[in-house]
């Protein structure tokens, strides 16, 4: 396929996903609800006299929202296509299903950015704490790479979940440990040593530290390296996701269960 054809497909897929998303009130209300957790985090920090740590609350609300979109909405894409009987058509089409899936999970993850705006507004207008972004370029890079990593990881989870019978159970179980290990609210440095060693393998760890640093006055260090690691983790997730997706589709084809959900 020519690059222009691929671009056309990506555009059409993104538009379709946008329509699906905003038509489904369960999904778009989720993205507005998640950032409300900033209310709890801000309350704890302000009450303890540490409004200066408001950036931590914003980071958590942002990553809770992006993570939720990836784990709950993005991960359901393949299972949803299967139960709505469109997976057979999509896999029979000349466009690789992988392209369609990546576009959709990336779209869903990017909607999670609302979490940042909403939690900033909560800090500003509920608690009267204007959170200054001291390093806007670091923030922009971090947000971009976080969305990429979340969307790419969702490809892997979407492929894995499509085989499982009880998707909801898995969805519920995975995000908690990732948030804890990634240090989305409290930096991973505060975890016990035996847990901390796992943190660098979780993309939330790099995302959280970069977003937090963009609120700090101090000049952040090793930005390129950290953004690169975040991107690399996302890429690894997408590649692994692609492999799993192929195995999974082959498996379903072989069994003739592609359209049986």
């Amino acid at each position: 396929m020519s690059p222009s054809a691929v671009l056309r497909i990506i555009r059409a897929t993104a538009l379709t996903q946008a329509r699906l998303f905003f038509r489904n009130s369960q999904e778009w209300t989720r993205v507005l609800m998640m950032p409300l957790q900033a209310l709890v985090a801000m309350a704890i920090l302000v009450q303890a006299g540490r409004a200066d740590l408001a950036g931590y609350a914003l980071t958590a609300a942002l990553l809770f929202t992006i993570g939720d979109m990836g784990f709950f909405v993005g991960s359901e894409v393949v299972a949803g296509d299967r139960s709505q009987q469109v997976l057979e058509l999509l896999t029979a089409a000349p466009t690789p299903y992988f392209v369609v899936l990546v576009t959709r999970t990336l779209f869903v993850a990017s909607v999670g950015l609302i979490g940042f705006a909403e939690s900033w507004l909560i800090a500003r207008f509920v608690f009267g704490v204007p959170v200054a972004v001291h390093h806007p370029w670091v923030l922009a890079g971090a947000l971009l790479m976080t969305v990429f990593a979340a969307g790419a990881t969702a490809v892997l989870t979407a492929a894995l979940f499509s085989l499982a019978r009880s998707t909801r159970t898995l969805q519920n179980a995975v995000n908690g440990p990732f948030y804890l290990l990634g240090g989305v609210l409290v930096p991973a440095a505060f975890l016990p040593a035996w847990l901390k060693v796992l943190s660098p393998f979780v993309f939330f760890f790099w995302a959280a530290s970069l977003v937090r640093d963009s609120f700090a006055v101090a000049e952040p260090v090793d930005i390129a390296l950290r953004l690169g690691t975040l991107a690399a983790l996302g890429l690894a997730g997408a590649l692994l996701g692609g492999l799993v997706l192929r195995r999974m589709l082959d498996h379903l084809r072989l069994n003739g269960r592609l359209g049986l959900a």
Binding site: M33, A48, S166, A173, G176, P187
Partner: protein
């Protein structure tokens, strides 16, 4: 009354099937408890970040004693509408309340198990020890605050079932409100006075106060009993309200013909 009890038990059996669709004991322990525990640790670690042992203990009690409380129940109030069994329940001669309480309350038993287990694990993880009697009292109050929260979820669930699509959103709201305003994360006194009024008529607020007094070891018995009494009172208030509205809301669907439309 005897009939109501029998209907409740059958409703509970339906609820048990709902529960089994979500969890078996392996996925409950490995999936659900993993999620609940990690979530509690995510918040409790703020105490470490703030470098204050009191804050750490405050968050531990608040988040562990309410771990999982309020989940699923509000949504479960709408499931009869989605299953198509709702019109039959409404036209049945008995009140819908017994059937609804039965199907929803299975989640309340889940909350008790989650909160008690989480409380034990989290306090052990931070090497916080209590006397056996303090622990026993805490468990009793946890059961109480699960029951009072359950009555609140019936009332909210009845409202949500008018627009079943909002069920998950309403459920999330209930858990968020408890987490933010009922003394889980910050003392109620932190919030503006008008908000404090609402905090005091919500479940959990007084129950948590009682637990904190029990665990501090310094609370006078009368104070503890006063908070327990207030929690009971709040629970009875929500029970009364929910009994008052469930049938009316169900009848509303019959009156305007929307009963089978979801």
């Amino acid at each position: 009354m005897r009939h109501a009890w029998r209907i409740y038990r059958h409703g509970l059996l339906v609820g048990a099937r709902d529960f089994a669709i979500f969890w078996n004991w392996k996925t409950w322990l490995g999936g659900w408890m993993m999620r609940i525990l990690t979530n509690v640790f995510v918040w409790v670690l703020l105490g470490r970040l703030l470098g204050s042992p009191e804050k750490l203990h405050y968050l531990m009690v608040g988040f562990a004693a309410t771990a999982g409380v309020g989940t699923f129940s509000v949504a479960a109030a709408s499931w009869d509408r989605l299953d198509g069994t709702y019109p039959l329940l409404v036209v049945a001669p008995s009140s819908i309340a017994a059937a609804l309480f039965g199907r929803m309350s299975i989640w309340m038993f889940g909350w008790v198990a989650s909160a008690v287990l989480t409380f034990v694990i989290v306090t052990l993880a931070f090497h916080w020890m209590f006397s056996a009697s303090a622990l026993a009292f805490t468990f009793v109050i946890i059961v109480l605050l699960c029951v009072t929260t359950f009555f609140l979820t019936v009332a909210v669930g009845a409202v949500a079932s008018l627009a079943p699509r909002t069920r998950n959103m309403c459920n999330f709201f209930v858990t968020l409100v408890i987490m933010a305003f009922c003394g889980v994360s910050v003392p109620v006194s932190f919030w503006p006075a008008w908000l404090q009024f609402f905090c005091h008529v919500l479940p959990v607020t007084h129950g948590l106060e009682a637990i904190r007094l029990v665990l501090s070891g310094g609370g006078a018995a009368t104070e503890i009993l006063r908070y327990i009494g207030l929690e009971v009172l709040v629970g009875l208030g929500w029970l009364g309200l929910s009994l008052l509205i469930v049938d009316r809301f169900a009848e509303a669907g019959r009156a305007d013909g929307s009963i089978e439309l979801v």
